[in-house]
């Protein structure tokens, strides 16, 4: 299935801002994170089609997945 993945802040470094990618049926957001080489503990907000979801949420054909990093410094 075809999924649009959007990355934010330093997750873009060495990757991309937005890209169409192919994933098999049954893929969850955490699988996308793993495939991109992002540590799951580095992930903050994730959204599917602008609604907040979790790493365990399944994604479907045509979905837009947005992945934001944890930003914690002060």
């Amino acid at each position: 299935m075809q999924v649009t993945v959007k990355l934010f802040a330093f997750f873009r470094d060495g990757r991309f801002k937005e890209e169409g990618r192919e994933y098999p049926a049954g893929t969850v957001v955490g699988d996308v994170v793993d495939e991109l080489g992002i540590g799951r503990d580095e992930v903050g907000v994730v959204m599917i089609n602008s609604l907040q979801r979790s790493l365990e949420s399944p994604i479907g054909d045509g979905d837009v997945v947005a992945i934001f990093p944890v930003i914690g410094g002060g």
Binding site: F8, A9, G44, M47, S54, L55, V70, I71, G72, G74
Partner: protein, 266 residues
């Protein structure tokens, strides 16, 4: 009070009063300077230092009467404290257990060669007294407690640890205090106003618990800190003045590499 009022009216030129005259009133009537300036604002006389804020006396009085707690007084917290002092927030409670270290010098407002090894909040209090002597600053050198939140109207998040942020947000929710959040890393920052309704901090840190182990310190650039702290100070001011803000409904991500600010629904 009438004699003080007469004194202030007599010294007020074009509806403003200079610091030297306010100090003379404080000495003559044996009152603290903040009380003198508050009284002037009640009489529609603007302390000269606030003239270019462009606010009405009643609005400036709201700022002068406000109590803001700044939890964490390093990068974000220190810069927010300096900005709120210039705006004229009357009471600042600064809470931080730490002393300045050399690696703070790249970004922390009150970190100087002379302040190394000294408590951050004490250094901030001293510096603020020369920015605005009419601000009452409480410098608290210990980790925050619920009592710190109870003592103020609005809380500013200057922490650098997600678990502690959740703990702070829990206190703010319990006591119904808005929490003006900010966080930074490298060229990126985020900010928003957390309330009991939007549960913003839990949204931003979904995989963290209050007792989660602290992460190693992250890299932060001074411009990122300054931008996010400036937005936190503006949001604090708007909360006090009752000005509606998009950051009451959204959080904002700031990318200084791309010069992009994005609102994301809270």
């Amino acid at each position: 009070m009438n004699r003080l009022g007469d004194f202030l009216r007599q010294r007020a030129a074009s509806g403003t009063i200079a610091l030297a005259d306010a100090r003379e009133a404080a000495a003559t009537f044996r009152r603290p300077l903040p009380e003198i300036e508050e009284q002037a604002l009640h009489l529609n006389i603007m302390p000269l230092r606030y003239l270019r804020n462009g606010l009405r006396c009643q609005e400036q009085l709201s700022l002068v009467q406000a109590r803001v707690g700044i939890i964490g007084c390093g990068g974000l917290g220190g810069t927010v404290a300096a900005l709120l002092a210039r705006l004229g927030i009357g009471r600042l409670r600064l809470v931080d257990p730490d002393c300045f270290e050399e690696h703070n010098l790249n970004r922390q407002r009150f970190a100087t060669i002379d302040s190394l090894g000294r408590p951050k909040t004490e250094s901030a209090r001293r510096a603020i007294s020369s920015i605005n002597p009419a601000v009452v600053v409480e410098a608290v050198v210990r980790p925050f407690t619920e009592a710190d939140i109870e003592a103020v109207d609005i809380v500013v998040d200057g922490l650098d640890d997600a678990g502690k942020r959740l703990e702070l947000a829990a206190h703010c929710t319990n006591l119904d205090r808005p929490l003006v959040h900010g966080a930074v890393r490298d060229w990126h920052g985020q900010t928003g106003v957390a309330t009991a309704r939007n549960r913003l901090i839990a949204t931003l840190y979904p995989n963290v618990r209050e007792d989660s182990a602290s992460k190693p310190p992250v890299n932060v650039l001074a411009p990122t800190v300054t931008v996010i702290a400036a937005i936190q100070a503006a949001e604090t001011c708007k909360l006090i003045l009752g000005v509606d803000s998009p950051l009451g409904r959204n959080w904002m991500l700031c990318d200084l590499l791309e010069d992009v600010f994005e609102h994301i629904p809270a």
